[in-house]
Amino acid sequence: LAKTTQPISMDSYEGQEVNITCSHNNIATNDYITWYQQFPSQGPRFIIQGYKTKVTNEVASLFIPADRKSSTLSLPRVSLSDTAVYYCLVGDFRDEKLTFGTGTRLTIIP
């Protein structure tokens, strides 16, 4: 399984765009990149998934460079309710298992 490295914590002010970068140097050909969000005392929630280039949904964007050795989750105009832990996961699309890394604790400041 590809190992992921992401910042332990980040702070940002309300209304700003937040970019969280994840490093996954040994990503394999069949691996997808997936991000989950977890609020305190709740289960993680799927945010976005991608393989290469850019993926956008109503919540976030995911940027993946051509070498796929890193990825960046972009949250536009964050609010206090975006305070959570964000996990970057890399896994084989053929495998039903997930391995969570350490995650990034994002704190939004008023």
Partner: protein, 119 residues
């Protein structure tokens, strides 16, 4: 609209007293998972079922067992809880990756968790 339901949300047990946590799903997903999450740590996969096919993680202690009597329900049994087993236990489901024949089949849907306290 509840999709993955866990009962109870909070469970208190005594050291060594068996406890069972339950999970049910309305998504008709093939796969059900159990994770353990300790404070300020990432969720750790204990085991999962693909239909009736049980898959145990290599480092899951024998103290943890699971049952899946039907598609909708899955149980986590802790035979002799120790103080170190106090944690949030998360149940999740997915369609099942490539075996399910869908491209995003490995997206997991989590329940709210059961917080276990061991006295």
């Amino acid at each position: 609209d509840a999709m993955v339901i866990q009962n109870p949300r909070y469970q208190v047990t005594q050291f060594g007293k068996p406890v069972t946590l339950s999970c049910s799903q309305t998504l008709n997903h093939n796969v059900m998972y159990w994770y353990q999450q300790k404070s300020s740590q990432a969720p750790k996969l204990l085991f999962h079922y693909y239909d009736k096919d049980f898959n145990n993680e290599a480092d899951t202690p024998d103290n943890f067992q699971s049952r899946r009597p039907n598609t909708s329900f899955c149980f986590l049994d802790i035979r002799s809880p120790g103080l170190g087993d106090a944690a949030m236990y998360l149940c999740a489901t997915s369609r099942g990756g490539i075996r399910s024949g869908t491209s995003l089949g490995n997206e997991q849907f989590f329940g709210p968790g059961t917080r276990l306290t061991v006295l």
